[in-house]
């Protein structure tokens, strides 16, 4: 309600339901100067002293006929050994998730393995049938998914769901023994009060707790292989760090092989022993994490790594003089959730006395985890959500006191770009109209507005011809450019970008960020950049506000906040940035692969 988390399903759009149109967006089509990558960049994985836990050899997965490409992945080979974490990295549509599903023989109907083989502990998975297959799934190989909420049966207590896994593979246990066993497992994955948690339903747990339950379930039968499909994408950054650490700990403890699917090179940097980079269903590069991250051989890999936002901290620009364009004073907002006729309503504080000011040409990042109230702040400034108290002064005028036509007039000065590029454009409106509509609402003649719209579309990197097309003909990144054009058509003084790049692939993200930076300079825009991703905040903002539960915990110049955070919470957030140490410290190396546990 209060804060939109980056929607997990956006970067995921790719996989098993591979026929969703947006999932098949040609990868990296906005990446300048890409060229067709070479085929296999490395041969089959080097055989270790012992047989690999997982051996994927020449795997080709065919998509149902009528899709935009015949194969989800082609000729993919890699191997995982005991006690090794291999990261499979790629953007939307790279086919990485299909591989994960193929390993457990969980491909959606219509999608099939067309060539190659997957062997786990030397056994060909494709040959497994019936009881053997079931014994393998959840026994030899465990799997966890991106969305822990939807991956758990919402109507069953989590304890029962864990117990079921044990019963299936190890046979029934006496009631008490089973309960203790389950509670022990839940304790192992770091859940507090396991006896209480076992009796809870998934909806009663937090996102991180749910993912821990999923891990407990996957680990219940001591599998040799754990397949984790984007396990942290839907989680907050601090939770993500914890879950990754947990997986790593368990791996070390049990010596299992881990296949981790991710789109985030930060995650790769934190946990991977070896990396497999996928693009459009083909492996473009494999190697040790150190080698791939530090010395990528493939230009695509390099582009991806370069695109990872990192705190390239610029010296702070001098604080502009004069009156701020926008001043927010003591904004307050409490959401009241009515729970029923007789239960006391629940109160959620989204803004507890927020104040900020913004000068022309300045960019302010508002960061926080989900529920911190950052999106509500943006919406309140836009007057999309009515604050309970406080003032919003735009050019000296209090927006809160405006109504009707006066408010409408005031809106020109203030525009917003939303997170979801697919929901932000009216599917029935031509792109040119979407851009021109604003000026026309303020009296610009149609012809003039349309011409301006075409020019703007060109400016944001689209062709003028785009004006006559409908939104569904564009990719996510292109749509976000259209949204930016639309917001700028009114020549606002202030632009609010609400998680504007969170739903995009990294490479696209980098381009859109670059565009925003350019436009800001060009139009001397004041910008509020709302994001959950501290790396992005560091990259674009002059100043940062850190929000927690509707309060500002820390505020200051980006460089200062990042290099010398004063608050513990800020520090925790910074520490949790995946791959931070790796990317910021060129000399940093991950500890070597731990010796195998006997």
């Amino acid at each position: 309600m209060t804060d939109a988390k980056p929607r997990g399903n956006e970067p995921r759009g790719n996989e098993p339901r591979g026929n969703e149109p947006r999932g098949n967006e040609p990868p990296g089509n906005e990446l300048p100067g890409t060229r067709t990558p070479g085929t296999r960049t490395s041969g089959p994985t080097t055989p270790g002293p012992d047989a690999p836990v997982l051996a994927v050899d020449g795997l080709t997965i065919a998509l149902p006929r009528g899709g935009d490409r015949p194969h989800a992945v082609e000729d993919v080979s890699f191997a995982i050994h005991r006690n090794e974490v291999v990261c499979l990295v790629g953007e939307s549509g790279s086919g990485k998730s299909m591989i994960a599903h193929a390993i457990l023989s969980l491909l959606p109907s219509g999608v099939r393995v067309a060539g190659g083989a997957v062997a786990v502990n030397g056994r060909d998975v494709a040959r497994l049938r019936g009881a053997d297959l079931r014994a393998f799934r959840g026994g030899e190989a465990g799997m966890i998914f991106q969305e822990p909420l939807s991956s758990l049966n919402p109507l069953k207590r989590v304890g029962a769901q864990v117990a079921e896994t044990i019963r299936t593979h190890q046979g029934g246990l006496p009631r008490d023994a089973m309960r203790r066993h389950v509670e022990g497992l839940l304790a192992q994955v770091g859940l507090p009060t396991p006896e209480l948690l076992a009796r809870s339903y998934p909806f009663e747990l937090s996102g991180g707790q749910r993912q821990r339950v999923m891990i407990a379930m996957a680990m219940a039968n001591r599998p040799a292989l754990l397949v984790a499909d984007e396990p942290t994408t839907a989680l907050d950054v601090t939770t993500q760090a914890q879950i990754l650490r947990l997986i790593d700990d368990l791996r070390r403890e049990r010596g299992m092989g881990v296949l981790l699917i991710t789109h985030d090179f930060g995650v790769v940097a934190d946990v991977a022993d070896r990396v497999v980079v996928l693009r459009g269903g083909r492996v473009v590069e494999t190697g040790s994490a150190e080698a791939v991250l530090r010395r990528p051989r493939d230009p695509y890999t390099r582009a991806l790594i370069d695109a990872v936002p990192r705190a390239r901290l610029r010296p702070p620009a001098p604080r502009p003089e004069g009156a701020p364009v926008l001043a927010v004073e003591d904004l307050r907002k409490t959401f009241t959730v009515r729970q029923g006729w007789f239960q006391p309503p629940r109160h959620v504080v989204a803004a507890d006395g927020l104040s900020l000011s913004l000068h022309q040409g300045e960019t302010l990042a508002v960061v926080g985890e989900s529920g911190s109230g950052k999106s509500t702040l943006g919406r309140m400034i836009m007057r999309l959500t009515e604050p309970d108290g406080g003032a919003i002064r735009l050019g000296g005028e209090d927006l809160r006191s405006l109504r009707g036509e006066a408010l409408r007039q005031a809106r020109r000065g203030l525009q917003i770009v939303f997170q979801d590029p697919f929901a932000s454009l009216d599917p029935r409106q031509k792109v040119g109209d979407a851009v021109a509509r604003g000026p026309m609402a303020f009296g610009t003649p149609r012809r003039e507005a349309k011409a301006a719209a075409r020019a703007l579309l060109e400016r944001v990197g689209l062709s003028a011809a785009a004006a006559e097309r409908y939104p569904h003909e564009f990719s996510g990144g292109q749509r976000q450019r259209i949204c930016i054009a639309r917001a700028l058509a009114l020549r606002p003084a202030v632009l609010i970008a609400d998680e504007a790049v969170s739903a995009l692939d990294v490479s696209v993200q980098a381009q859109v960020l670059a565009l925003l930076a350019e436009l800001r300079r060009e139009m001397r825009l004041a910008m509020i950049f709302i994001t959950h991703d501290l790396r992005i905040a560091a990259e674009i903002a002059d100043r940062v506000i850190v929000l927690q539960k509707g309060r500002i915990v820390e505020e200051g110049a980006t460089r200062e906040v990042f290099s010398a955070p004063r608050q513990a919470y800020t520090r925790a957030l910074l520490d949790a940035i995946p791959g931070r140490r790796f990317f910021e410290d060129p000399g940093f190396t991950r500890e070597p692969v731990a010796p195998e546990v006997a």
Binding site: L104, M143, T168, E204, Q339, G340, W341, F342, Q343
Partner: protein, 330 residues
Amino acid sequence: MRRAAGIGLAAGAWIVRLVAVVLVIATFNFALVRAAPGDPAQVMAGQSGGADAKLLADLRAEYGLDQPYAVQLARHLGRVMTLDLGTSTQQRRPVLDLIRERLPATLLLTVTAFALALLLGSTLGVMAGLAAGSAADTAFTVVSLVLYAMPVFWLGLMLVLVFSVWLDWLPPFGYGTINARLGPWRQALDLLTYLAMPAASLGAIYLAIYARLMRAAIIEVAQQDFVKTARAKGLTATQIVVGHMLRNALVPVVTVAGMQAGALVGGAVVVETVFAWPGLGRLTFDALLQRDYPVMLGVFLILSVIVILFNLATDLAYRLIDPRMRARSA
């Protein structure tokens, strides 16, 4: 403790809602019925085969029809709250008694039809959903579409035509063989032969609805992540269907079942007419033709209460199925 308190609060909310709805409906019914052309005293007198002014005046005084509407309404609401639904102008008996006599038949019919439709429909829907795309599934879809488009009264007539007129297997009307001296089992069986066709014709359309819903729900649930999780855990197909999919698929079915309660009760009026089933539906229709105001008001009220109770039942079922609902209140 907390759960018990929650259920108590939920029950309280339901009672408040029931009372509110009853009051509003009572007022609404009252206004509507009084808006009708036709003087109930006239009908009562007219049906006596002759009438004169004295009889009319007597009847009006007797039933309070000579009072101002406001007074009549106030009296009506006051009585409704004390469960006094007045006296039938036609049958000269307390409306509550009339309703009590007819209620069991209607409940038997509607509950049987409802249960039959829900159980059979869900079962068929699960089977079709699991076999989606097969020939059997296609046949199922066609049959359920036809059933869904079938006018209830016509289906009833066709059943009578086939099973009573042509085959002579089932009695075409009635509510048990009268005066047959049978043991309890035989008697139940006897009643069943009378119940079969009315329940079938009333239930058919809902069977189709629930089956189609269930089929869609199963197909949808089958695509959900937790089913994938269950497969990844190594569960058998049966374990997955029974242990994970069924309950989740029931949620939309139960939701719709609750919304259908009103239609079910409405359908009962028609079915009871076709099969001479001595329930509230027939009572409604007869009372309507005779403008028996107290009976009409009473029956409409009770039918609405039945609908609310059906809603309550589905709400409870919903809570039973879905713990997320339990956490909230009504």
